[in-house]
């Protein structure tokens, strides 16, 4: 079971929870299960999202595997100049 930390607008999409527990082996599985648990999260996913796994930020690679016990943060997708 992964502890997934939420911040920014993602927190309010999860009823204000700072973290949620999800069983997932990949980013894709994690996001699928989160949306099932918190349907409002879909709007955040549509806006763009990034996932930090042990400090490494993944914006696009949803096949990325997540090791058991990893530090996982869901972050809004950022833009750059």
């Amino acid at each position: 079971m992964l502890k997934v930390c939420l911040s920014g607008p993602l927190k309010s999409a999860a009823d204000g929870a700072a973290s949620v527990l999800v069983s997932a082996a990949t980013i894709r599985e994690l996001l699928r299960k989160l949306v099932k648990q918190y349907p409002q999260m879909q709007m955040q996913l549509d806006d763009g999202i990034a996932v930090s796994v042990n400090g490494e930020i993944f914006r696009d690679n949803w096949s990325q595997e997540i090791p058991e016990g990893a530090e996982v943060f869901l972050l809004p997708r950022i833009q750059g100049g």
């Binding site: 309010s12 990034a50 400090g55 990325q64 943060f73 950022i78 833009q79 100049g81």
Partner: protein, 753 residues
């Protein structure tokens, strides 16, 4: 493994050298083709009619007289760009921003466009279009827009990020909270708490080349677009979606680019040019004037920020918080959210909380500007950091070093840091001779730190080997700052051939798989990684061909210094086969030799910088001149150091202009008062000293060469570095950017009073 992104330390032969850039000759001789430099047979000239009002209902647009004018071939309004966005909120915002629908939302909002045989005719036609407006109340200030009773900019926008879900529209589009720990407990534990409020004004990226494009759409639904952009693949997708075209039927070619800095990551008038061309069935050229660039494209946010920092007398920060209010223009963005994420990223904080408010006002849609949103947050935080250090009698550099983030620090925006460079940049500041140079009369010194995320993304690269052994490298990320030179160096390094044997081209969208834009400091990081992989695939092929030629197993062949070499004593009679040898014989070994890579380049390393600044303030006029400036930044690995230094210098110069001069000035009527470079003054060479640089190389573990992005971070510290230098020389803490002579004089007088 060819596609392993993990960093491996190695000795480089090509990487780290400084050969001439391949696009240099064309650029200095005027041969380079920018957005406005291409032409098509029968092309029309397009002009755009823009709203003179900050906020107005568009009751009627009468184009009948203009349509009758000889030489006018097409006129479009929003009716010619029907909504095919299928509920995509962001895409609809883009559509409405390109061409106003029922309301004009800011001074300069496009309401109609004309394509005619020449510019005088198009100009006459614009004057014949009659728009009936009903002027509505407007708001252009971020704090005023948040007050109860402020005019609502977008009735369809309800605040996101709050619970419960609001039931009425608001100018606060989004609230974003970041942080960890207990800030209230942290402030209680502090010996000293400093609170300050700041404002920063809106600035434009100020790229020298205005937006320009040549669009051509035929009756068969096929189209082409030549355009100055930071991301032609993204422009293709967005334009195709807005016009209801098939992506594959719109070919977009990026011209050379005369600066972008984030402003050319969004479409502005390109869909208009395509729609005009579709209606006229002729190619259409559309170039913006500088006035239009200021009024009708995307500057950065103006802001209002409150900062609170608590500290122990021994210099340990116990808590830090900030409330950041950023205006997004007339369409929701993520700019305050980015400010809230970056504000305290340089520090190791037990208790931290930031709240970002993205606010709508009647100004142009805000776009990214080099490390978007970070400079304003850094101005507020880094100014306060100096105030806190002074309050406890500690040297501001030592104070920063004591509280700097490091590997294992839980960042203020969430994740735990890997190896990072803030500590080393601060250590370099301490050692730098600049810090020991004696200051002159009326001079002061300041320093400040800055952070930016960097990111990677979708990237596709081809590497083709010609029959003479020269290499064509084809990438899809636009070369904004010397990337073709850097990527050629990388290809040469991998293949073991001279730099001069590689030619790097930027492909059009019909010639390569999708590439994300050149933004987020990703160009050399992403396309560099993709180039390495493509070259390694080509080397695998080359080794196989050598093995076939020698009739030995491929596992007995290695690639070394540009040659296939057979391993072991038993093959000592086999002379190495060079890239040229294998290329010359390719016809009989399998045909063309190529390498390809299609990747998502994730794992971009975060970037930190520390800047030192000396200024001189005229005691009579308060005019401020930068007399010495040093940028120290972590590059991960500098592939072509000239262009890394160029990025450091360019970012610093833009930050200096922002700090001292640049601002959008709106009148009470909501109209922009200074849409030109005479009244909106950016720094020029004669205003500045040589910007000194020091490159640090702390490898990014997620790139084969250790590359981090370098393009953006250096714009982050200058605002605060100059503010801190001003405080040093005048004794006054400036809290409003730009720190122009009238503001400095006012602040000094207020202190003296």
């Amino acid at each position: 493994m060819a596609d392993d992104p993990k960093f491996k330390d190695r000795k480089f032969k090509m990487v780290g050298t400084r050969p001439p850039r391949p696009d240099g000759l064309d650029k200095v001789t005027g041969r380079a083709k920018y957005g406005a430099d291409t032409f098509a047979p029968g092309q029309l000239v397009a002009l755009v009619l823009r709203s003179p009002h900050a906020h107005a209902q568009i009751k009627r647009i009468d184009t009948s007289k203009a349509e009758k004018l000889t030489g006018v071939k097409a006129i479009i309004t929003s009716n010619d760009l029907p909504d095919v966005t299928n509920g995509d909120r962001e895409l609809y915002d883009t559509l409405e921003n390109c061409l106003a629908r029922d309301r004009a939302l800011y001074d300069g909002h496009a309401v109609a466009a004309v394509a005619a045989i020449d510019e005088p005719t198009a100009r006459k036609a614009l004057k014949l279009i009659r728009v009936t407006y009903k002027i509505l109340p407007h708001v252009t200030d971020v704090d005023a827009a948040m007050k109860p009773g402020a005019p609502i900019v977008q009735p369809r926008v309800y605040t996101r990020g709050v619970s419960p879900k609001p039931t009425s529209p608001s100018n606060v589009a989004k609230v974003s909270e970041f942080g960890h720990g207990d800030v209230e407990a942290g402030f209680k534990a502090a010996d000293v708490v400093v609170e300050k409020s700041y404002k920063t004004e809106q600035t434009h990226q100020g790229y020298i080349e205005p937006h320009a494009c040549l669009a051509s759409v035929g009756p068969d639904g096929h189209g082409e677009l030549w355009v100055t952009t930071q991301g032609h693949f993204v422009y293709r997708n967005t334009c195709a979606a807005l016009l209801g075209m098939d992506v594959a039927k719109l070919k977009v070619t990026s011209s050379e680019i005369g600066g972008g800095f984030g402003g050319k990551t969004h479409v502005w008038m390109e869909p208009i040019a395509l729609a005009l061309s579709r209606k006229a069935n002729r190619p259409v050229k559309l170039e913006m004037t500088r006035d239009e660039v200021f009024r009708g494209t995307g500057p950065t946010s103006s802001t209002s920020i409150d900062v609170k920092i608590g500290v122990k007398k021994n210099g340990t920060i116990t808590a830090a918080s900030a409330e950041l209010r950023y205006q997004d223009g007339a369409f929701p963005g993520i700019w305050a959210m980015l400010g809230a994420m970056t504000a305290y990223a340089c520090y190791d904080l037990k208790n931290v909380k930031t709240l970002g408010y993205d606010v709508l006002v009647n100004r142009p849609k805000v776009a990214a500007y080099r490390a978007p949103s970070a400079p304003m947050a850094a101005f507020a935080v880094e100014s306060t950091i100096n105030e806190v250090a002074a309050a406890i009698g500690m040297d501001p550099v030592d104070f920063r070093i004591k509280n700097a983030a490091k590997e294992g620090t839980k960042s203020s925006y969430g994740p735990t840091y890997g190896p990072i460079g803030i500590g080393p940049t601060l250590a370099a500041v301490k050692k730098h001779p600049h810090m020991r140079e004696k200051l002159g009369k009326n001079q002061g010194r300041g320093m400040a730190c800055g952070f930016w995320f960097n990111f990677g993304g979708e990237t596709c690269t081809d590497l083709n080997i010609g029959v003479d052994g020269t290499v064509t490298l084809t990438v899809g990320t636009v070369d904004v700052g010397g990337a073709r030179a850097s990527l050629s160096l990388i290809a040469a390094e991998e293949l073991g051939i001279p730099y001069e044997r590689v030619k790097c081209n930027i492909a059009d969208t019909g010639s390569l798989g999708h590439n994300h834009m050149t933004d987020g400091s990703r160009g050399t990081f992403s396309s560099g990684m993709s180039t390495i992989f493509a070259a390694r695939h080509a080397i695998e092929d080359l080794c196989q061909r050598a093995a076939n030629t020698w009739e030995i197993p491929v596992k007995e062949v290695v690639w070394h210094d540009g040659n296939a070499t057979a391993k072991g004593k038993k093959h000592k009679k086999l002379q190495p086969l060079s890239l040229g040898d294998l290329a010359a014989g390719s016809e009989n070994t399998g045909g063309p030799i190529a390498g390809h890579s299609q990747i998502v380049a994730d794992g971009a390393g975060v970037s930190f910088a520390s800047h030192i600044c000396d200024i001189e303030v005229d005691p009579e006029t308060s005019a401020t001149k930068v007399v010495r400036y040093t940028v120290i930044q972590d590059a991960g690995k500098a592939i072509h150091p000239d262009y890394v230094e160029g990025q450091f210098q360019g970012g610093a110069v833009q930050g200096i202009g922002w700090a001292l001069n640049e601002e959008y000035i709106y009148g009470d009527d909501g109209r922009l008062q200074n849409p030109g470079f005479l009244d909106y003054r950016i720094p020029v060479c004669s205003d500045l000293p040589f910007i000194d640089t020091q490159i640090l190389e702390i490898p990014n573990p997620n790139h084969p060469y250790g590359i981090r992005g370098v393009g953006e971070t250096s714009i982050v510290p200058p605002l605060a570095a100059i503010g801190n230098a001003l405080a040093d020389v005048t004794g006054v803490r400036m809290t409003h950017v730009p720190m122009s002579p009238p503001r400095i004089r006012k602040a000094i007088k207020e202190k003296q009073a």
